[in-house]
Symmetry: C2
Subunit: 338 residues, 2 copies
């Protein structure tokens, strides 16, 4: 392994795929994005992701400098050793897909393909190049369609004994609360995800409360209440949106407190599309509720709760770092991001 | 350090102090117990603990083989580097007490004194000599007056960034639930500790439900519903006790599921006085509820939930192991317990 080897980190989401070639110092040499179009099925997605990677590799110096490794973050469970995507609820048809093999067959030169959870790559990116540089422990709380988590403990990505850790979205906060997609009740995902917020907004509107959220969705031809619609409605002072958002912030705050009381990290990072757009406007009330529920009074002085710094670049950067590490390169942690 | 050095592990509880001299293979060479009599204040407790340690050391070979190190588990927050007990809610007057120095002044020969949380020593004992031998990750859930937790992650005791991890008792499970001693509401400690069970039993009796629990307390001259009274009432088929106990088991089960979904360990251990007495009779329903709430269906096959194996010996054994380790001895983990 040479520090100059070409690696690409990829964030494969339900709606878009982001990829970046990143050098050993964390500088993005080339990047690109495509819509996922997951409805076309895995074979089509693989073909288009391979094209995207080839283009980015060429911009970054291929074929003179061949692509050495790719790490891909997938919204679901993967088996990296077997090169499989086990299950990805937001990607129709992605059950036991041999993603690594399919992708290698499309890319020249047999690059190494590493698979991980998208949230793990994002927290890794923030740890290596973002707000968590140099820390020994941090927790990422990602609020989107669902709620996911990533843990850095003792300076390492913590994946659990069966690579199933970090499912913080299924922390029960209200035993008799609303039903969750996991079959349980009162999981924080069923209380505070964007999906839960949309359900609550629709219920309040159906009950006669005045709100422009549904009109905004129509205007933007969006079947769902996206982060950008939430952002817009909050900015416009929509009362229903404000009420629902504050309710969700409270539960994310309780989740943060539960995690802090158990794991005593140095930092909690709030990520996902809403946090990328709203930053401190989202985090302030989450922090307030969390601090109220910290068991250790000193924790309020010691433990920071902050929004994502790298935003959409976090997972591609984390992926590139992981890819380089898997090639045997041991970059120094905490190097400055340029 | 010689493997033959004399070390003692101590569990200093609110009502009794247990201590054991343990050899490098985990065999208890000598042991003893005294009532804590915490109401007499720290100076008196230190004097009596020092006498207990001297007696046990003599039984185990002192003065020919002098006491090399003591590790003491305290029900509260300690600062081991400074030798201080910071705060121990169940030990009146124990705020910023220089326990290590006071104890060394009473013991001959300047043994090393190590301080830690009692629950940390207990999970360490189970990890080294008990049901967790050879595991990389396990979580201890200790149900007593309060609810405490200990974490073994990546084969090591996990203490958190500010030695404040493991406060799983203050995991909020019912946001609008009963008030907790921490000031919050709906913490699992306020729902499922022995203190919460006693509150619920008293409330049901006050509401006219028939139960013999208060009579049992009177008969045994106990102002509180101890583990032994809970055990007896359950055995006698007391309906109120059964109802309250099952309610508590449910919340401990939810706590276990939250911890498993976040940390994906190999094993969850249920400890504390009730689990020591009831074993599988306590754990069965906890496991049932936890398994229902695991996010990963495979986790039901992979993750065991079991009662404590070492019971009251866990913390003294863990303490002795920690004391020996601090002296520089690196015992092999997973050695058989004789």
């Amino acid at each position: 392994m040479d520090a100059g080897d070409l690696v690409i980190g990829v964030d494969m989401g339900g709606t878009k795929v982001l990829a970046a070639a990143v050098d050993a110092e964390g500088r993005i040499a080339a990047q690109g994005r495509i819509p996922t179009q997951a409805q076309n099925g895995p074979i089509d997605v693989v073909a288009r992701v391979a094209r995207l990677l080839t283009e980015i590799a060429e911009q970054a110096g291929a074929p003179n400098r061949p692509l050495a490794a790719v790490a891909i973050g997938v919204p679901g469970q993967v088996d990296d050793a077997a090169g499989l995507v086990r299950h990805a609820p937001n990607l129709p048809g992605w059950t036991d897909v041999p993603f690594a093999e399919l992708l290698r067959a499309r890319l020249g030169g047999e690059p190494r393909v590493v698979l991980d959870n998208d949230v793990n790559l994002a927290i890794l990116g923030e740890h290596v190049y973002g707000v968590g540089r140099g820390l020994r422990s941090m927790i990422g709380v990602y609020v989107g369609t669902g709620i996911g988590g990533g843990l850095i403990l003792d300076g390492q990505l913590y994946e659990g004994a069966h690579a199933a850790g970090g499912e913080i979205g299924h922390t029960v906060l209200e035993h008799k609360g609303p039903t969750c997609r996991c079959g349980g009740r009162g999981c924080v995902e069923a209380l505070a995800s964007r999906t839960a917020m949309e359900r609550d907004v629709r219920a309040l509107i159906a009950a006669g409360h005045k709100s422009d959220v549904l009109k905004l969705m129509e205007k933007h031809d969006s079947p769902h209440m996206t982060s950008s619609i939430v952002h817009r409605a909050l900015r416009d002072g929509d009362k229903v949106m404000h009420q629902v958002f504050r309710h969700a912030q409270k539960y994310v705050g309780l989740l943060c407190a539960n995690l802090v009381n158990t794991l005593d990290p140095q930092l909690v990072l709030i990520g996902g599309g809403l946090a990328e757009r709203l930053g401190e406007d989202m985090v302030a009330h989450i922090r307030e509720v969390a601090y109220e529920h910290f068991f250790s009074p000193e924790a309020r002085k010691q433990i920071r709760i902050v929004p994502t710094q790298l935003k959409a670049d976090a997972a591609p950067l984390g992926g590139a770092w992981l890819a380089r590490q898997r090639l045997g390169y041991k970059p120094e942690l905490g190097a400055p991001l340029h």
